[in-house]
Amino acid sequence: MSLENKNRQLLSKIATNDKHGENSPYFDGWKAYESNPFHPTKNPQGVIQMGLAENQLCFDLIEEWIRNNPKASICTPEGVNEFRNIANFQDYHGLPEFRNAVANFMSKVRGGRVRFDPDRIIMSGGATGANELIMFCLADPGDAFLVPSPYYPAFVRDLCWRTGVQLIPVQCHSSNNFKITREALEEAYMKAQEGNINVKGLIITNPSNPLGTTIEKETLKSIVSFINENNIHLVCDEIYSGTVFDTPKYVSVAEVIQEMEECKKDLIHIIYSLSKDMGLPGFRVGLVYSYNNEVVNCGRKMSSFGLVSSQTQHFLAAMLSDNKFVDKFLAESSRRLRERREFFTKGLEKVNITCLPSNAGLFFWMNLRSLLKEKTFEGEMKLWRLIINEVKLNVSPGSAFDCSEPGWYRVCFANMDHETVEIALMRIRAFVNGRDKGKNMEIKRWKSNLRLSFSSRRFDEKVMSPHMMSPHSPIPHSPLVRAT
């Protein structure tokens, strides 16, 4: 008997079970990327990461602000006199100025139509920690939360792994653009009750991850009435609320409940974070905003398990209370996101690939049903492996999001520079065109491509310099195709 085996027996079920959900293709794709990451010059054949919802389009704005505001940092001569107050600060309420600034920022992101009370903000380690924290507050092991599918793959880990809570998918379909309907909610809720499952609430992402769509006001209202009538909680994950770049205008649940007199507010909880809207996932700022006093009270005590560093709180307090900067940043960020999405989807349209219409998020929901050999999830996985291994793009298959229909893929577009987008597009076009031409071509092309990697020098100089590759050129310029 190996020592390792003996040790496993000595550990908890949580440590040794697979319920962290990291065995899904969503994470496999990341591993494929990590073992062979794309680099324009060092590894031009590598896998391009399109599975990571990261917003890198506005780093320059943040950098500029930091440069102009040395006082915000406790590590500069201008700001160091604050060091003593900050270094020891570990109150789980958080710095008052930090909570004020975040409340102000949340309000701005929602167009100033709602105000947030800083005293209802609970700090947490990223949205990951915030989601787990709210589950610990609302549900006991074995209880369930409804979640409209497709949904964020890591919910399994964030919401369920350590809390013992289970998720019950609410099926949404492409026929109505994956809208959450009252019927689907009722059906899932009924079914759960028939199965003796104690449903504690519903969790929605608005804007939706992975769809990139926002929920219309009427739909939100019907969701709020649904949870009210059944007296269950509503957790609104709104971490992408600042990424809305197109109409319809974003409506937060905070706005809707202002208008709904009858609503039991203490059923409503909002999850927020600065990782997506500000593009600062490294800062690990997540928070719960709850209208329920008891949740605020006990959630705050749990903050201790994921406090935001006081250095970071102090810094963000200064940045987020700079109204001029925040306004400019939000406007510019959504402009750039719209531009990027448009460029990307237009490029896909050229090879007849369509995407679900969307107006938010750092990703879109790509429809490859026409490319599936068989319209099953197996077919979806086969195509996905082809995309990972041959086209060398890490997109995430719909099955990882528990989507009810095969053939959808989530494509992240904001974590790369423009040149990389062009290369990704070219690879996709070459792939689709190659498929149209027939299988033999494909094999031939890939063989010669292998040879090409040995003469990567030439490749570097000529093919990969992005300015030489016009996306509008009629000839597909993919390095893969050129090799044939």
């Binding site: 040790n7 000595l10 908890s12 079920k13 949580i14 440590a15 079970n17 319920k19 962290h20 990291e22 990571l52 890198q56 943040i62 950098e63 440069r67 940092s73 590590c75 500069t76 160091v80 060091f83 003593r84 270094a87 020891n88 600060f89 570990q90 309420h93 005293d119 920690g129 787990e132 609302l138 006991d140 074995g142 880990r157 350590r162 199965g195 003796n196 104690n198 909680h233 203490d266 996932p281 490294g282 209208y291 329920n292 006093n293 008891e294 949740v295 009270n297 006990c298 959630g299 005590k301 749990m302 398990f305 994921g306 560093s309 006081s310 250095q311 970071t312 099955s399 528990d402 974590n415």
Partner: protein, 544 residues
């Protein structure tokens, strides 16, 4: 409570597996099946291979509805006599918002009250630990030499404010003129904004391994690949608890112990703490016989003990485990086949003549199964940057490290903070100077403080590390009981206006002991604090 919880879990998980989408859950179903067998006494009794529906599902369902009925009734009655709100119960800085509070109040009156988790209903009740009550009361009326000279002086938090000037000086000198105040390339936006490894930057792990080596006197090496970094020692302990034991299992803990353990281990992991009482006659040193006793008593009650949790140097006593005791502990753990969690966050804050020996060093010296030993470390105490939230799990157990890495997602250290700390720790000359100066300053304050207390007739337990002394005030309490201790604490709070931690909050079995932290004040402030203590001593003596 955990027992009933487990029973009620079962029916759900039963149906859970059936209803699950096979596509996503196939990998997990096997493990949960195993889990269920362990969890469910009910199921194992009734479940037949064929008559699953009749034998298990239906009784389970009935049982569930019964539970639900009871729960509904219970939570309704609870809500009526427990009108808790965040403002009243614990947090003084929390102000109820005008607009929404009213609507909340109105909905509270409705019949169908919203149910939270069992944990939440326990936590939202007012704190009963004087440790937390004390901390809150200080927040309401904090001492400040200019603004509020009659406020409460905080002596209940082991913060070290003695050496912040050193770090401050270093920051200005070294991080000047750059983006985050750093000329280092890593502090550019690409080094701090995007996602980083959740279990900590490699650079920081390497720097921390060196720092731990330095702090522990250079006698033991730490391997950065055995580390998982978390945002503070608090989540580090919680994560280890999640990894090492299941809900309803227990850890043995020598008393008196750090009040935060209750929160870190009990709350969310649901693991019980079994006190192993140490006594003043031994200077609160641990003895194996007491451990054996606690272990076998737990076993008799059917409680599964999965580990022993120690703080070394001990918080709140400040004493250090001898190498011999560490060996005995390892033998004990080996014999009982349990884990050892050693919280060594005060390792560098030694001031006595006794030398601190890390359990890591003992592991090095002999053939011992290293996989059962896990060390907690952090920079909140030894480097006094509690606000920065840097904690370490150090383990030789690969499975634990793997799981802890995944869990570190819930408690990752902010990247800019990691970068700043990395550059600070990499300056070894500064660090050595800091450690030496810090020790010197702690010793100076400690000696003076304890000396003054002795003159007041208050003796302290013998100690060699930490930022506190463990003071015996049993002579001042009347009656000699927890009640007497509580009353004395209240006197310190309202008459002397100092917040100290009573022994009962540390689960001490003997009444009358208090933890007094002395590093939150400066050397010059000692007479002020002593004067305030004298007031209480006087009133106690005159009344008796």
């Amino acid at each position: 409570m955990t027992q009933t919880q487990k029973k009620s879990i079962n029916p759900f998980s039963q149906t859970h597996n059936q209803n699950q989408n096979p596509k996503t859950e196939s990998s997990s179903s096997s493990s949960s099946r195993n889990g269920m067998k362990l969890i469910v006494p009910l199921q194992s009794v009734v479940q037949g291979r064929n008559g699953f529906l009749l034998g298990s599902l239906i009784p389970c369902a009935l049982f569930y509805f019964f539970q639900l009925y009871l729960k509904r009734r219970r939570s309704n009655s609870n809500s009526n006599n427990n009108p808790s709100s965040p403002s009243s119960s614990s947090s003084p800085t929390l102000v109820l918002p005008r607009s929404s509070s009213r609507s909340n109040l109105s909905s509270r009156g409705s019949i169908s009250r919203v149910r939270l988790s069992k944990l939440a209903s326990i936590l939202s009740k007012p704190d009963d630990s004087l440790y937390y009550i004390g901390l809150d009361r200080v927040l309401q009326d904090p001492y400040d030499v200019f603004v509020n000279p009659n406020g409460i002086i905080q002596l209940g938090l082991s913060d070290n404010k003695l050496c912040l000037d050193l770090i401050e000086k270093w920051l200005v000198k070294n991080l000047e003129g750059s983006v985050m105040g750093n000329s280092d390339m890593n502090l550019s936006i690409n080094g701090i904004a995007p996602y980083q490894a959740f279990d900590g930057l490699n650079e920081l792990k390497i720097a921390l391994a060196d720092f731990m080596h330095q702090v522990m006197g250079g006698s033991v090496e730490f391997d950065p690949s055995n580390m998982v970094l978390t945002s503070g020692a608090t989540p580090a302990i919680e994560i280890l608890s999640f990894c090492l034991a299941d809900q309803g299992n227990a850890f043995l803990v020598p008393t008196p112990f750090y009040p935060g353990f209750d929160r870190d281990v009990r709350w969310r992991p649901g693991i019980d703490l079994i006190p192993v009482h140490c006594r003043s006659t031994d200077n609160f040193n641990l003895n194996i016989t007491a451990l054996e006793q606690a272990f076998s008593q737990a076993r008799k009650r059917g409680v599964k003990v999965r580990g022993i949790l120690i703080s070394n140097p001990s918080n709140p006593v400040g004493n250090i485990l001898t190498p011999e005791m560490l060996f005995s502990l390892l033998d004990f753990a080996e014999d009982k086949n349990i884990h050892i969690i050693a919280d060594e966050v005060f390792a560098g804050s030694t001031y006595g003549s006794e030398e601190f020996v890390s359990i890591a060093e003992v592991l090095d010296s002999e053939y011992i199964d290293k996989s059962r030993v896990h060390i907690i470390y952090g920079l909140s105490k030894d480097l006094a940057i509690a606000g920065f939230r840097v904690g370490v799990i150090y383990s030789h157990n690969k499975t634990v490290l793997d799981a802890a890495k995944k869990m570190s997602r819930f408690a990752t250290i902010s990247a800019p903070t990691q970068r700043i700390v990395t550059s600070m720790l990499s300056d070894k000359r500064f660090i050595q100077e800091y450690i030496d100066t810090n020790r010197h300053r702690i010793r100076r304050v400690h000696d003076e403080f304890v000396d003054c207390l002795t003159k007041l007739g208050i003796k302290c337990a013998k100690s060699s590390a930490g930022m506190f002394c463990w003071a015996d005030m049993s002579g001042l309490i009347k009656p000699y009981s927890e009640k007497g201790e509580l009353e004395l604490w209240e006197k310190f709070m309202s008459v002397a206006k100092i917040n100290i931690t009573p022994g009962s909050a540390c689960h001490c079995i003997e009444p009358g002991w208090f933890r007094i932290c002395f590093t939150t004040i400066s050397f010059e402030e000692i007479p002020l604090v002593i004067e305030r203590i004298r007031k209480v001593v006087k009133t106690c003596k005159s009344s008796s």
